[in-house]
């Protein structure tokens, strides 16, 4: 009876909904609980992103809350295609903004240096692969993929081969090749992105 009186179970239905469904429902209704449900799915990741830039835990918690408040506003008014990508950009920008403000106050000099040091890596991360999931089932895909891999730079080719074909971890690849883990990740990200672009061109030509 108690369960029945709690009258429900909207929360249960929300938990089963996709990100897109929650976003759409939030845009239509403005119910902030929908935004919270969606945001809480990623809160640990937003916290991790903020933690990368902000050393102070309290600053970090405040930044995550600020990202949530921004989510509440932006998700209502704009159409967000990929919520996780949007969250990453928003969290990163919020941290940068905080650090800049802190830098002006000369309080967060160290965090700023940390950001400057890491930022180049993230610039490399932008624009990931998004194509060809369907086409990878076509018979000539393997051949085209091999050709594309052979055209990669050696560092990227080596890392791609060890990761995707020998299923080695970042750490194992680093110890095998002598690259640092960060370099391995960077080669893999760039190599994978280039592969996507090359495959797109090759498929286009083959049609």
């Amino acid at each position: 009876m108690k369960k029945f009186l709690r009258l429900p179970t909207q929360e249960d239905r929300w938990k089963q909904a996709s990100d897109e469904e929650l976003l759409q429902a939030y845009r239509q209704t403005g119910n902030r609980e929908l935004a919270a449900e969606l945001f809480n799915r990623y809160v640990h990741l937003v916290y991790g992103v903020c933690r990368q830039y902000l050393k102070d835990r309290e600053d970090c918690r405040d930044a995550v809350m600020a990202v949530f408040e921004q989510t509440v506003i932006q998700a209502r008014n704009t159409e967000i295609q990929h919520f996780n990508k949007w969250l990453y950009s928003t969290a990163k920008n919020k941290c940068i903004s905080n650090i800049r403000e802190g830098q002006r106050n000369s309080r967060h000099q160290e965090e700023w240096e940390n950001f400057e040091k890491n930022d180049s890596k993230f610039m490399e991360n932008e624009g990931f692969l998004r194509l060809y999931h369907k086409r990878t089932n076509e018979p000539d895909t393997n051949q085209i993929l091999k050709e594309a891999i052979s055209e990669l730079e050696e560092s990227q080719r080596t890392c791609i081969h060890l990761f995707f074909f020998e299923k080695k971890s970042y750490k194992d690849i680093a110890s095998t090749t002598g690259y640092s883990v960060k370099q391995v990740k960077s080669y893999l990200q760039n190599g994978k992105r280039r592969l996507g672009v090359m495959l797109g061109q090759k498929f286009h030509k083959s049609q």
Binding site: F4, L5, L7, R32, E33, A35, A36, F39, N40, R41, Y42, V43, H44, L45, V46, Y47, G48, V49, C50, R51, Q52, Y53, R57, C60, R61, V64, M65, F68, N84, K85, L87, Y88, A91, K92, N118, F122, N125, E126, F128, L129, Y132, H133, T136, N137, T141, N142, L145, F163, F164, K167, S169, Y170, K185, L188, Q189, K192, L195, G196
Partner: protein
């Protein structure tokens, strides 16, 4: 080859911790690292956790943030809504319960009638040969009884009606007609037949109050039904006393 471009959802908090603690199987680790190549959010988050090194404080912080997020969206308006929902639920339960009670109460006499009604047996004496019958049965009554005996009560009714037009004081025909009316769900006509027998006050003194009680039950007139059931109980020789007592107990 498909595994290069396969998609998966973002990492859970548990997966992040397991990955950083080297607690994943090779297959799981490959899935995670392949996802990290494509997902800026997860990639940056893993970097962040790896830098902080203190997962316990991170978990505490996340719990606190989740609590703040949830508290910020559950304002008074929601509480009012929840209160209204609860009140509506209680009202609904009460209304449904009352409706069920009313239905149960209203249907009780009909259920009792169905449980206790058995058509009176035909007690006319019929002869195999018409020649040997000193008082031959009129054709209408014969047809009425023919249908009555085969439980075709609705077909018997017109013939009883015709017969009773010429023989209005035949108590046996009135009783059987009343039973046919009861069986057909026409309690009012049944009552009229039975009251005509009762007015004579001579015969069928056990049957008449019993079937009148059943007719009033079918009409959902409980006080009158109770009155005739008590008459049955007051007649020591009535074969219906036991049943009348049971009904009286149920409609007390």
């Amino acid at each position: 080859m498909n595994s290069i471009f396969q998609k998966r959802s973002c990492l859970t908090q548990r997966e992040v911790m397991q990955y950083l603690n080297d607690e994943l199987s090779d297959e799981q680790r490959y899935d995670v690292e392949n996802h990290l190549l494509d997902c800026e959010l997860c990639s940056a988050a893993v970097e962040g956790y790896a830098q902080s090194q203190n997962f316990r404080t991170a978990e505490e912080d996340i719990q606190e943030v989740v609590a703040r997020v949830n508290a910020s969206v559950k304002g008074p308006a929601r509480r009012r809504l929840a209160w209204i929902n609860r009140a509506a639920a209680v009202a609904l339960v009460l209304v449904v319960s009352y409706a069920v009670f009313l239905y149960w109460s209203a249907s009780q006499p009909a259920r009792l009638f169905a449980a206790y009604f058995e058509p009176a047996p035909n007690t006319y004496i019929t002869y195999r040969s018409a020649d040997s019958n000193p008082n031959p049965i009129p054709e209408e009554l014969k047809q009425a009884l023919g249908y009555y005996n085969t439980e075709a009560f609705d077909l018997s009714l017109p013939h009883f009606k015709n017969y009773l037009a010429d023989h209005p004081d035949d108590p046996q025909a009135l009783l059987l007609a009343a039973n046919a009316y009861l069986q057909a769900g026409q309690a009012e006509q049944a009552v009229q037949c039975l009251l005509r027998i009762e007015a004579r006050g001579e015969t069928l003194q056990s049957e008449v109050p019993w079937y009148l009680a059943l007719a009033y039950l079918q009409q959902k007139q409980l006080p009158r039904a109770r009155q005739y059931l008590e008459n049955v109980m007051a007649t020591p020789s009535s074969p219906f006393r036991e049943k009348a007592g049971e009904i009286l107990e149920k409609i007390k």
